[in-house]
C-alpha cells in the first residue's frame, strides 16, 4: 500500500532542542525555593537497620529534614520498596536528607548514624539453592512476581548438585515448568544432541541520564519532573508510590536520556522527592542521582545459569529442546526473563517438542528489571553459538541451519503454542545472506593474516512486539491544524512522532499542519502502553489510527448533516471532506472543526465512548470544545503474538596474541513489518547492534562474593562499547512485509536487533578461534587470550558475577 507519510523520513520536532542543549531533562529544572536531597544508601549487601540517629544532621543550619522508610508508602515484599529498613543490596536507599545545597545534604548524611545488624547474603543463585545456603531475603530466596512465583524458600538436595564439579548445571525442583510435544522422542531420534551448560552475565543499566527527579506540590497536585521512557503509562504506578490518585499527579517527562527498559514503568525512587516535598510544606525538592547510585538503584538485566539439551536431525532441523534456566533475579520482585527466554527458543527455532524448567533465585545484587530484549537476548547469546556447533558437527552451513529452523507466519509460540501475527525470519536471513554475500565470504573463515584470523558470524533474535487495547486522541482544530495527543514517551527512538504519523496518514493531512502534543500530563494525553517491549510501533499506530478513524467518521457525519446525503457518500483529502461523486461539494477541515465545536457532544469531545480509559476520558474533557475531537480505543482485531525478528551478519579479524579484534563489517536485517521511519529503523538496527556488542563482549557485572561489594559502579568499569569498539562499516536492511494485524502493517523491532548482533559477534569469535565455545557472556579479552593460548579459563563453568 502506498503512503504519503509512512515509510518516509521526517525531522523529529524535538531534535533541535536536543542538539542545541535547550532540551531540559529532569535534573535541569529549577524552581523558587528549591532544595536538594541526597540518599543514604546501604553499605552492606543485607542488613537490618536497628537505629537511626539523625539529631546531629538535623541540627545543622540549612538542613531541612530527613525522610525514612517509616514515612513512605510500603508495599508487600518482595516488591521494590521506596526506602527500606532492611536493605538487600549495597547501595539500596535507606533514607533521604534535604538541605539548602547538595553539598550540605552530603555533609549532613555523614552526620547521620545508622546502626545495622548484618544478615546473611549471597550473590550466587546456586549457593542460595544449596541446602543450608544463604537466602537473599529473610523470608525466602526465590521470587518473580511477574511469573506468579511468590516469595518463598526453595532448597535443592545435595544430590542435585552432584554434577556441578563437572561443570553441569544442577537441575533441582523448578519454580516453573511447561512442555509440549514428545521431548524424549525428539532427543532420542536426533542425529545429534548438544548438552551444554551456560552462563550469561547480568548487565547494569547505564542510561546516559541517571534517574534524577524534581518534585513540588501546588494546588493540591504533585508536580513531578522525572526521567521516564514512557509518558502516560507510569502515571498510575507513580501515583501509587506517592500515595495519591493519578489525577493528583502532574507528570512531566518531555525528554529522557535513555531507558532501555529500566524506565519503562514508574519506579519507586521517583516518589522520594515528592514525599520529601510534601513533608517540607510542598517545597520543591531536587533529587540528583549520581552515576554510582545509578549502578545500584538503576536496576540490571538478570543473569542466567542454564543448561540446554538440543536435538538436531541430520539436516540441522531442531527435533527437540530441553531447557533449564536458573535466573539471578536480584533481591526483589525481579523480571520474567527466564520465561521469555524459553518462549523465544520455541519460536526462533520452531521447536517441535520442548520442555522448559526454571527458577528465579534472589541475590543481594541490584534489583532486576527489563533490559532490551529481556530474556530473549540472553538466550540468543547462549543458543546461537550452539547452532554453529551443531552446524559444524553435522556438516551443515551455518546460514542453512538457521534458515531451516526459521519461523514463518505459521509458526507457533511458547508454552501454549499460540500463533503469531506474522514472522519472516527466513526472509531476513535470505536478504542478509545475499547482501552480506555469505556464500562467498564464508570461505574467509579462519583465514590467517599474521597473528590475525578472520571470523564470520550470524545471529538471530526475537522479541514480542506489540499490544492492543489502548486509546488515541486527535483534535482537528479550527485553524486547520491536526493535534495528535500522544502518551508515548521520548525514549530516543522518535516513536512519539513516528507513530503519530499514522493518524496524519489516516486523515490525509500535510505533515506541516500536524502538531504532536506530548511530554506533560497537563497536555491532555491519552492512555497508552509504555514505551518498552518493542511494542510502540504496533500498539500506537493502531490506537492513533483508531482515533483518526473516529475523526474521519465525524467529519463525514458533519458533512452529511450540513451538505446532505449519507456519511458514506463522503471521502476525505486535501484537508477537506467532500462528496465522492462531486468532490467540489464539501467542506474544509477548518469549517468542520468549527461545526464540531458548535455541535458539541461527541463531535467536540464533550461526550466520549464508555470503553475509554479514565485517563483518556479526562484528556478528551481537557480538549473538549477546541475542535473536532477524534478519540477511540483500539478495538481492532488482535490475535496471536506480534513477532519481531532480526538477523545479524558480521565479519571480524581477531588477533590471537592479544585477544582483541576489529569488527570489519556488520549487517542487521529487521523483520519489523512496514517500515514507518527509515532513518529511525536504521538507527535502531545500528544502535542496537552496538549495545549488543557490549552485551556479548564488554559489559561487565562484578561482585565480590565474600563481601557483596559491586565492582562496576562507573561507566569505565562497566564497559559499554566505545565508538572505537564498533564496526568499521555497518548497514541495515528490512524485510518490509506488512503485518496483517496492524492498519499500516507495522510492528516493533527495538530489541531483537540487539540480540542478533550480540549473537553474531559471539559466533564470529568462536569461528575465529576454530570452534572454541565459551558458553558464557561476556567473552572478554582475557577469556579470548586464555582460549587462544590453550590455558584454562579463570572462572569455573557456573561461576557468576566474575566477568
Amino acid at each position: 500500500m502506498a503512503y504519503d507519510l509512512i515509510g518516509t523520513d521526517f525531522t523529529p520536532p524535538d531534535i533541535e532542542a536536543k542538539v542545541t542543549g535547550r532540551a531540559r531533562y529532569s535534573e535541569d529544572f529549577r524552581r523558587d525555593g528549591m532544595i536538594f536531597l541526597k540518599l543514604l544508601t546501604s553499605p552492606m549487601p543485607h542488613a537490618r537497620v536497628t537505629n537511626i540517629d539523625a539529631s546531629e544532621a538535623l541540627a545543622m543550619p540549612g538542613v531541612h529534614g530527613i525522610l525514612t522508610a517509616d514515612e513512605v508508602p510500603n508495599f508487600p515484599e518482595p516488591q521494590d520498596p521506596i526506602l527500606t529498613n532492611e536493605p538487600v543490596y549495597v547501595g539500596e536507599p535507606i533514607l533521604a536528607v534535604a538541605a539548602d545545597t547538595e553539598e550540605l545534604a552530603a555533609d549532613a548524611l555523614e552526620r547521620i548514624r545508622v546502626d545495622y545488624e548484618e544478615l546473611p547474603f549471597t550473590v550466587d543463585p546456586l549457593q542460595s539453592l544449596f541446602p543450608g545456603g544463604p537466602n537473599a531475603r529473610t523470608n525466602g530466596n526465590i521470587a518473580d512476581l511477574r511469573s506468579g512465583v511468590d516469595l518463598q524458600e526453595l532448597k535443592w538436595t545435595a544430590a542435585d548438585f552432584a554434577a556441578v564439579e563437572e561443570g553441569q548445571l544442577p537441575e533441582g525442583q523448578p519454580a516453573g515448568e511447561w512442555s509440549y510435544g514428545d521431548v524424549d522422542a525428539g532427543l532420542a531420534d536426533a542425529a545429534l544432541v548438544l548438552d551444554e551448560t551456560f552462563v550469561t552475565c547480568g548487565n547494569s543499566h547505564h542510561c546516559m541520564e541517571p534517574r534524577s527527579a524534581m518534585a513540588y506540590w501546588e494546588n493540591g497536585r504533585c508536580h513531578l519532573h522525572a526521567s521516564s521512557q514512557s509518558q502516560s503509562f507510569p502515571v498510575p504506578t507513580v501515583a501509587r508510590y506517592i500515595g495519591i490518585s493519578p489525577e493528583e499527579l502532574v507528570f512531566i517527562a518531555e525528554y529522557c536520556g535513555g531507558g532501555f527498559g529500566s524506565k519503562g514503568a514508574g519506579y519507586p525512587i521517583m516518589a522520594v522527592p515528592a514525599l520529601m516535598s510534601r513533608k517540607l510544606n510542598n517545597r520543591p525538592v531536587m533529587m540528583r542521582i549520581a552515576r554510582n547510585e545509578e549502578y545500584s538503584i538503576g536496576t540490571a538485566r538478570p543473569g542466567f545459569q542454564g543448561r540446554i539439551r538440543m536435538g538436531f536431525g541430520a539436516d540441522g532441523r531442531v527435533t527437540a529442546v530441553d531447557l533449564y534456566i536458573v535466573q539471578e533475579n536480584g533481591p526483589n520482585q525481579g523480571f520474567n526473563d527466564w520465561q521469555s527466554a524459553a518462549d523465544a527458543v520455541s519460536l526462533v527455532y520452531t521447536v517441535p517438542a520442548m520442555r522448559f524448567r526454571g527458577v528465579p533465585v534472589l541475590t543481594n545484587t541490584p534489583p532486576r528489571a527489563p533490559q532490551r530484549g529481556p530474556g530473549q537476548n540472553q538466550i540468543a547469546e547462549a543458543v546461537e553459538p550452539l547452532m554453529d556447533k551443531a552446524a559444524s558437527e553435522l556438516g551443515v552451513d551455518r546460514l542453512a541451519i538457521r534458515r531451516i529452523n526459521a519461523p514463518d507466519s505459521t509458526a507457533r509460540y511458547g508454552a501454549n503454542q499460540g500463533g503469531v501475527t506474522s514472522a519472516h525470519l527466513g526472509d531476513a536471513l535470505d536478504i542478509g545472506g545475499e547482501q552480506f554475500n555469505w556464500e562467498e565470504r564464508k570461505a574467509r573463515s579462519g583465514q590467517r593474516n599474521g597473528s590475525k584470523v578472520t571470523g564470520l558470524g550470524i545471529g538471530t533474535a526475537y522479541h514480542s512486539a506489540g499490544g492492543s487495547g489502548f486509546d488515541g486522541l486527535v483534535v482537528l482544530r479550527p485553524e486547520g491544524k491536526l493535534h495528535i495527543h500522544t502518551g508515548v514517551g521520548n525514549l530516543g527512538t522518535y516513536s512519539h512522532t513516528g507513530t503519530s504519523r499514522a493518524a496524519a496518514e489516516a486523515l490525509k493531512c500535510d505533515w506541516a499542519d500536524c502538531v504532536v502534543v506530548r511530554g506533560d500530563s497537563r497536555n491532555h494525553l491519552p492512555w497508552n502502553l509504555g514505551q518498552f517491549g518493542s511494542n510502540t510501533s504496533f500498539t500506537m499506530t493502531r490506537s492513533n489510527w483508531a482515533a483518526a478513524m473516529d475523526a474521519v467518521a465525524k467529519l463525514k457525519e458533519i458533512a452529511a448533516m450540513d451538505l446532505g446525503g449519507e456519511p458514506d457518500d463522503y471521502d476525505i483529502g486535501d484537508h477537506r471532506v467532500f462528496l465522492k461523486d462531486n468532490p467540489e461539494q464539501g467542506m474544509s477541515y477548518q469549517a468542520a472543526a468549527e461545526r464540531a465545536i458548535e455541535l458539541g457532544g461527541k463531535y467536540s469531545g464533550h461526550e466520549v465512548a464508555e470503553d475509554l480509559n479514565p485517563m483518556t476520558s479526562a484528556a478528551a474533557a481537557g480538549v473538549a470544545g477546541t475542535g473536532l475531537v477524534g478519540v477511540a480505543k483500539d478495538n481492532m482485531e488482535h490475535t496471536g503474538t506480534v513477532a519481531a525478528l532480526a538477523a545479524g551478519f558480521i565479519e571480524i579479524e581477531l588477533d590471537l596474541e592479544t585477544g582483541k579484534y576489529d569488527i570489519v563489517d556488520y549487517l542487521g536485517v529487521a523483520d519489523c513489518g512496514t517500515v514507518i521511519h527509515p532513518a529511525g529503523l536504521e538507527t535502531q538496527v545500528k544502535g542496537g547492534a552496538v549495545m549488543g556488542f557490549g552485551l556479548a563482549v564488554s559489559e561487565r557485572h562484578i561482585y565480590d562474593p565474600q563481601i557483596g561489594l559491586p565492582g562496576n559502579i562507573g561507566l569505565q568499569q562497566s564497559g559499554p562499547p566505545s565508538y572505537l569498539d564498533t564496526a568499521a562499516t555497518m548497514t541495515s536492511a528490512a524485510v518490509d512485509i506488512a503485518d496483517p494485524q496492524n492498519p499500516i502493517g507495522a510492528k516493533g523491532i527495538g530489541e531483537p536487533v540487539q540480540g542478533c548482533a550480540a549473537a553474531a559477534l559471539l559466533s564470529a569469535i568462536s569461528d575465529a578461534l576454530g570452534g572454541y565455545y565459551f558458553n558464557r557472556t561476556p567473552v572478554t579479552a582475557d577469556m579470548i587470550v586464555n582460549a587462544a593460548s590453550g590455558q584454562a579459563q579463570s572462572h569455573t563453568p557456573l561461576q557468576v558475577n566474575t566477568a
Binding site: K38, L40, T41, P43, E102, E103, A105, A106, D107, L109, E110, R288, A290, R291, N292, E293, S451, E657, T658, G659, K660, S698, R700, I702, Y703, D704, P705, Q706, I707, L709, G711, N712, I713, Q716, Q717, G719, P721, S722, Y723, L724, D725, T780, A781, D782, M783, V785, N786, A788, S789, Q791, S794, H795, T802
Partner: protein
C-alpha cells in the same frame, strides 16, 4: 557512602611554582596538588580522599610546554597535556613511543584535560581501593583483592606485598623505557630522579606509588638524547579501544644495527605496582638478531617468575605475546 559531591576544602591557585611549592610545603600531608583533575576529582567526589587544602597547578604556565634541551634531549613541563604530547611533532619525530603511549590514554576529551604529570602520578585503579574500603593501601589491615574469591583480574603478576594493585599509567612505561628523568622541586630546591626509581612498590611504601612526599612538586620530565630516533614499540591491550586502563601494556626502545639489537630498554605496565623494566629480556635480546627466534625467547623470558592470582593468569600469555611482538614487529 555519599558520592558525587565534593566536600569543602580551601583552594589555592598560585601563579608561581615556588608559590605552589611553598603552599604544599606549608600544609604537608593535608594538601593536595591538583593537575588535570581526572584522578583527583574522582577521589574528592567520592569523598574517599579529603584534603583540607587543594593547590591548583593549572595557572602555572612555566609547567607547560615541550622544550629542546642543550644536550639534544627534551624537557616536558609536568602540566603539559597528553593531547599536546601526542600531537607534538618534536616528540613524534624523536620519541614516538611517548606520543604513541599518550595517544592510547583514555579518550580525547580526557587527554585534553589530563597532564603528563598527572598521568604518571595517578593512583592505582584497584576497584576495591577506589571503592573506599579500608585496605592496606588505604591504611587498613587487609587486601580484599588477594583473597580466595577476590575479583583480581586487573591485578599484579609481580611485586605483591600485602597490596596487589598495579600501575595504571600508559605513559610511565614509555618514560622508563626512554630513561627519562623526573624533575622534582620542594623547599630545598630541584632534584632529578630517574623514572625507573621514581615509581615505588608497596614493599617501600604501601600508601604511595612514587617517591614524591608531601611538599614535593613534579615540575618537568626530561628525556635524554640517548634514545632519540631509536626503534620503538608501544602497545596497549585494554578491554575497550578507548577510555580504558591497560590490561597490559608494553614499551620498548631499542637500537638496531643491521639485524642486531645493539641495546634495548623494555618496560611492561599493569603487571606490577611499578612500570616493570624487563631487564632479563634486555639481556637476552641485546646482541641478538632481531628475528622471530629472539622474539620468542624474549617473550618466554618476560614471564619467568610471574605469580598470578585467581583471575589474572591471562596476563602471562598476554605479556609474553606483547614482548614477543615488541621484538618481532618494532
Amino acid at each position: 557512602m555519599s558520592k558525587d559531591m565534593m566536600p569543602g576544602f580551601e583552594l589555592f591557585q598560585p601563579d608561581t611554582v615556588d608559590g605552589a611549592v611553598d603552599l604544599l610545603g606549608r600544609y604537608g600531608g593535608e594538601a593536595w596538588a591538583l593537575a588535570g583533575g581526572n584522578d583527583s576529582l574522582d577521589w574528592f567526589k567520592d569523598r574517599v580522599k579529603r584534603p583540607q587544602y587543594v593547590v591548583d597547578l593549572s595557572g602555572l604556565d612555566e609547567l607547560r610546554g615541550i622544550r629542546e634541551m642543550d644536550d639534544g634531549g627534551i624537557e616536558i613541563g609536568a602540566m603539559t597535556t597528553l593531547t599536546a604530547i601526542e600531537s607534538s611533532a618534536l616528540i613524534q619525530e624523536r620519541y614516538s613511543i611517548l606520543s604513541d603511549s599518550a595517544r592510547r590514554v583514555a579518550s580525547p576529551q580526557i587527554r585534553n584535560a589530563s597532564t603528563i604529570g598527572g598521568n604518571v602520578l595517578q593512583d592505582t585503579r584497584c576497584w576495591y581501593y577506589r571503592y573506599g574500603v579500608d585496605c592496606y593501601r588505604a591504611g587498613g589491615n587487609e587486601c580484599y583483592a588477594d583473597t580466595p574469591e577476590g575479583q583480581n583480574r586487573e591485578h599484579c603478576l609481580w611485586g605483591a606485598d600485602r597490596c596487589i594493585a598495579v600501575s595504571p599509567s600508559d605513559t610511565a612505561p614509555a618514560l622508563v623505557a626512554l630513561d627519562a628523568r623526573m624533575v622534582v622541586r620542594n623547599a630545598d630546591g630541584d632534584r632529578e630522579i630517574p623514572a625507573e626509581e621514581f615509581f615505588i612498590g608497596p614493599d617501600i611504601d604501601i600508601e604511595r606509588m612514587t617517591v614524591l612526599e608531601p611538599g614535593d612538586v613534579l615540575t618537568a620530565i626530561r628525556i635524554p638524547a640517548d634514545w632519540a630516533g631509536a626503534t620503538f614499540y608501544f602497545e596497549k591491550v585494554a578491554d575497550r579501544n578507548t577510555w580504558d586502563f591497560p590490561l597490559v601494556n608494553i614499551a620498548a626502545a631499542m637500537v638496531v644495527e643491521g639485524d642486531t639489537v645493539q641495546s634495548i630498554r623494555i618496560v611492561a605496565g599493569a603487571v606490577e605496582c611499578i612500570p616493570r623494566r624487563l631487564t632479563a629480556v634486555e639481556q637476552a635480546v641485546t646482541g641478538q638478531p632481531k628475528n622471530e627466534e629472539t622474539a620468542a625467547v624474549a617473550g618466554q623470558t618476560a614471564i619467568r617468575g610471574a605469580t598470578p592470582f585467581n583471575f589474572n593468569h591471562f596476563k602471562i600469555p598476554l605479556l609474553q605475546n606483547l614482548v614477543t611482538r615488541a621484538i618481532r614487529d618494532a
